[in-house]
Assembly symmetry: C2
Homo-oligomer: 736 residues x 2
């Protein structure tokens, strides 16, 4: 059914072209019609002649293109692998063809179309001569010809088919014929029927391939290609773009490799979807699965703090909402929804896309229509059905901009880290309790060719490099990805209210015979203009184990309220394997029963105290990253590991408190010491009652762990009764 | 002579007051007349009623004062030392009296004057009962009564006498009498004739004392006090404010403790000078010594990079041009000169002083009159006659904003570091080759009471913590301040031209029998839009020694072009004493003869390569700060030490090259490797000829070390002749 309707549309379009233009060549008058349509182009041409963001963006691009097309066309015979010269040159070429095509459409100056044509003709000469790429992996299922892997080849096609669509009207029939038959069609065929396993795969690589082939289908009048792109080579629906949309995102639009890869994966999705929308709006692609693509764009934004993505899994920590993929995403999202909150993000991105939606964004920004984008507390269900745990974001504005990221989420495939139930804390614009992210210097040849460093496996992915429990110095799932992928944690509950945000998750498959259960609460204390974060981590087993709970902090250690024994003239490594070999042991302390406090100072000028409630059985091991790192690949960051040994069960209890200000420039220091005076924890049925005294304010924080909390729960404290609604209650005690 | 002219002025003023005001009390109509005059006040009163920066600043201050005067007056009996409660309370009180007095003048609301009066009366009751402060040092020459040391007492008087001057017209004769006889006069007497050694001392402490007493002289009709403040207790001119002006600054306005203390020292100077100017313009205080005070203000600004002071000697590195003392300085400098470059600095300071000059600054900023302030390359002569070496600032704008700080400067008293001929490098807004500054967490009680940490002596002051030669692992002058103060380096030459900036200095007293001579050149290569920095460090002795040249860099090590042997599972300290005990030895390498390159990546996203020309005799020891630091007091920064042993003479030759860009957010990396292909150094008479090949550009850099370079010098290279003008020549060779 789809097929026939498509076919008729293509035919009618061709007829209209022939009639209205009446030029010598049988050009397809609706070009361009992928992400950008002919009617977009008319508005865009007008806009470049006026003042404003859009015209500026055009001028900037035009200047760049002018410089580049003044140079000779270079299409080298493929030779180098990722990062090498020919690899990078071919990447530059597709970007340049796309940009020059765009400038052609907006300037209507033939020299830009000629440039694209000339380069395409060189490629058309070259392609038929090419064998598989010499740097392909042995027995690779997905080699390329221009590139060592077909992923890059698919990206090449996504850009190049758009470039061709932009200039096609300026080419002779013969030129079109050469380019289509010698280059574009063979590439599309190579990437589809030539590589069924990749093309049909429900995976990001498949998305690029289907996007490229499907868009080529629209441009080259091959509606069948659109069908196979959407429903796989057999049109079975077991693979293809629609299946990818159904499986690669959770119902809330979360992509389970995490935001760093989500923004990357997003690009072929939104590009191809926009092309589908423009060509076949009747498919309702943006409404598919309750609008999951728009949700995916929005979720990518939500998974950021102060402009940067939460760096879970393999993530370069400087990546944030201004990445080009998300600029495209936000542009398309605004075009579809006209939600002015997206303009706030677009303003921060400070890049205008040259497209119809880009023009709408630029005009709206010029008109000052942006309204603040709202960052929420959300538990993003993980897995295609949203039931494989969740990635939890907890936010508060009571004491500045704060966020807790809690990760009872699924493994996230090969880029996932072994960090079930880990957390991070952000305050005042800065990372306070941190995740190492990926060990990688992207594209820096001297650092392992710019690829993931060996230390990404030996340290960054290991459990001890995160803020979660390590049992017996081995990583979750024994660091086996396949086991991790098969076993997600459970989200026990998530609740956000005026009292704050609370969430709990657990997993009993990370270690055989050990259950890990963590509850985190970001608690608002508005009368003190403060928050505290409570962390209750319960480890249960029938056997005795060593339990380590690391905390990686950003800042300079100020002091602890217990004695430390420091290694001063020889520094040993903390352990031998599973990431422990990369930690220097700087000092050890075993606080007596009571409150064990560690205070550090962040570069943001605020102090942070983490106070643990201990029984005399926890040792604190102060660490610095950098052991067994002969090539200086790791950042030398600080942390401490709380350790208990020979235990069947243990509850790690702690409270994190931001306080004070260090201002050496203005020469004042305020509240450099924690105001926590006492802390106690008791259990009343399913409710954990935490009694907290902070300076002159005393609170009960009650957390109900029951799965059903439909009725009020009664708790008692010092002969008084308190009524708890939901999972989290905060009661200010009046005896102060 | 001064005395009689003063006397007559005071008398005439009093007469005018009696005649023109004709009110009941014999008020002194010219109050206020210290930093702020009666005519200033009239203009300021007008300004607070209009819109603009001045009115905003007033409103902000008034809100603060309103909150504070709503609280009870608290004047505790002195008990605590520096940082303790009574100490901090008395500091707050003088600031509050001054601020309330200011709001009184501008609002003309009596409640503010009443508040100041009430507090002064409490002080007047308390003062006669006070013994010397219980926390004073044993046998102290300068105890206080409100404070443990009289320095704070003098600061108290500087603020309090101004507060009194602001409210005096609102007080009854009796109130004036009580406050003057029981409080202000006794304090002034205590600080002058009561402590001759401090009052007469040509030292910053003396400046505060003379400023307080002198200003009290103007307010309390004690012209004799002005005389002794200016010329010492005996009016001999051997001490006093004028002598301090003559000796504490070099002719160019450099204060030899360095900019961190210069901005602090500046405050009583400019405050008292402004009061002198307002009361006795005929003294021409701002013209004194060719305008040295204005030069001192300007020099403080010049000694900054990207808003922060060069952190030589004991310096907190976050201190910069927005410190309140320099805000006062810039305000007064603009008032005197109307130089609109000062407005550029004032705009960055973003604080308006409530004074006549502050109003002039605010109005000029409101009118958009600021013009860019020019940062120059300057050799600031050190010592009172400017002949005790120099602090050299070298700047370039050829490749962004770059600065080299070179320090052939004098010791700088007790806060000076043992770092003769050290250097620092700044680029692109960031510190690249760094100085540790002071080891101190200002006012953080947990860190050694907020005072200088023990590690300030054991590490931060020691030579190895700087970027200069250490002989036999001992510090310059064997770390004896008195020896350092007696022996300054020599500035051999300094020259700034289109080719760049070059400077050379030497010292033969830092170590017995060893001469250290260093030449640094920041060389412009405009055709490459680059600079390079050449560093030639010549060490000469008749005896064999070990010579170490450390380089402390900010960033992440990328690689070296020679093999490193790393300490991977045990980290030893580099040495046992003189700062070496605080360095971990992470790796060692001994490059073969030729170019030894080390590359690191700065947080600013640029790469830096330091390439040394070696003979196979230099070892490179890669270090990290943090050994023997049981309290986690030190920052864990990185560096490497070049070492030769058993040598009489050695020339350390190196070239620093900023290059490329690391942009993981936009996913590109440019020029991550050094473009230096070859480097050679030859000597032709007094000229050192450096042949540099950088990618496709080849240069000769010639440095003439002769003290006289009045004539052109001929040098030859590869059978061609080049003519060198001055000390620095750069010749682009054409054979590429």
């Amino acid at each position: 059914m789809f097929f026939s309707s498509l076919k008729s549309k293509f035919i009618s379009v061709t007829l209209v072209a022939a009639v209205t233009l009446g030029c010598a060549l049988p050009v397809r008058a609706t070009h361009p019609n992928l992400v950008i349509t002919q009617s977009d182009v008319e508005l865009m041409r007008e806009a470049v002649g006026t003042e404003g963001r859009f015209a500026q963006a055009y001028q900037t691009l035009k200047n760049t293109v002018d410089q580049q097309i003044a140079l000779p066309i270079t299409v080298p015979v493929p030779k180098d692998g990722g990062g090498g010269y020919t690899h990078e040159r071919h990447k530059k070429n597709y970007q340049l063809m796309f940009n020059a095509g765009m400038v052609y459409q907006l300037s209507q100056d033939d020299k830009y179309a000629d440039f694209v044509k000339d380069m395409l003709l060189v490629y058309a000469d070259l392609y038929p001569t090419l064998p598989l790429h010499p740097e392909r992996r042995v027995n690779s299922q997905n080699p390329g010809k221009f590139f060592w892997q077909s992923l890059n080849e698919a990206v090449w096609l996504v850009y190049t088919i758009q470039a061709y669509d932009l200039v096609i009207n300026a080419l002779s029939e013969e030129e079109q014929n050469v380019i289509e038959t010698q280059l574009l069609k063979p590439v599309a065929t190579f990437l589809s029927s030539g590589q069924p396993s990749t093309f049909n795969k429900v995976h990001n690589h498949g998305t690029w391939a289907t996007a490229g082939v499907g868009m080529a289908g629209y441009v080259l009048d091959e509606p069948e290609w659109v069908e196979i792109a959407l429903y796989d080579l057999e049109k079975s629906g077991k693979g293809g773009f629609i299946r990818q949309l159904d499986e690669l995102f959770s119902p809330q639009g979360y992509y389970n490799e995490g935001p760093y890869y989500q923004r990357y994966a997003l690009f072929p999705f939104v590009t191809f979807a926009k092309a589908i929308e423009n060509n076949e709006p009747e498919r309702g692609i943006f409404e598919h699965r309750d609008g999951v693509l728009l949700k995916a764009i929005d979720t990518t934004i939500q998974l950021s703090y102060n402009g940067l993505f939460f760096p879970i899994n393999d993530a370069i920590k400087t990546k944030g909402i201004d990445t080009i993929e998300l600029v495209h995403g936000v542009t398309i999202a605004y075009g579809l929804t006209k939600d002015t909150g997206f303009l706030d993000i677009a303003e921060q991105q400070n890049q205008i896309i040259l497209s119809g939606d880009g023009l709408r964004v630029a005009n709206a920004l010029d008109a000052g229509k942006a309204t603040p984008y709202t960052f929420d507390s959300v538990a993003f269900g993980d897995g295609k059905d949203g039931d494989e745990g969740a990635l939890v974001v907890m936010r508060s504005q009571v004491a500045g901009d704060q966020a807790v990221l809690f990760k009872p989420a699924a493994q996230g495939l090969g880029h996932g880290h072994f960090d079930k139930l880990t957390w991070q804390f952000y305050d005042n614009g800065s990372e306070i309790i941190s995740d190492y992210g990926a060990a990688r210097f992207l594209n820096v040849e001297a650092k392992y060719g710019g690829r993931y460093l060996p230390e990404n496996n030996t340290y960054a992915k290991q459990t001890v490099s995160h803020n979660t429990v390590v049992v017996d110095e081995t990583s979750h799932f024994d660091a086996r990805v396949s086991v991790g992928n098969a076993n997600a944690p459970t989200l026990n509950f998530f609740e956000s209210s005026g009292h704050g945000v609370v969430s709990s998750g657990e997993i009993s498959t990370a270690y055989e015979g050990v259950t890990l259960e963590r509850t985190l609460a970001l608690v608002n204390l508005p009368e003190m203009e403060r928050t505290i974060t409570l962390d209750l981590f319960e480890v249960t087993s029938d056997d005795e184990h060593q339990y380590d709970l690391p905390l990686h902090y950003q800042g300079h250690l100020i002091d602890s309220n217990f004695q430390l024994s420091a290694n001063t003239d020889q520094l040993p490594a903390l352990g031998e394997d599973n990431g422990y070999q990369h930690l220097w042991l700087r000092a050890t302390g075993t606080p007596e029963s009571g409150l064990a406090r560690v205070t550090w100072l962040s570069d943001n000028g605020r102090f942070y105290s983490q106070t643990s409630l201990v029984d005399g059985d926890e040792s604190f091991l102060f660490t610095q990253i950098g052991a067994n790192d002969p090539n200086f690949n790791l950042r030398n960051e600080n942390g401490f590991v709380r350790r208990v040994s020979g235990k069947k069960t243990h509850r790690f209890v702690s409270l994190l408190e931001p306080h004070g200000e260090y201002n050496p420039s203005k020469e004042y220091t305020l509240e450099a010491t924690s105001s926590l005076e006492s802390l106690s924890v008791t259990d009343q049925g399913s409710v954990t009652v935490v009694h907290v005294t902070l300076a002159s304010n005393e609170y009960l924080v009650a957390i109900n762990h029951a799965s059903e909390v439909s009725e009020q729960t009664q708790i008692s404290f010092q002969n008084k009764t308190y009524l708890l609604n939901g999972h989290l209650g905060v009661f200010q005690l009046n005896n102060h």
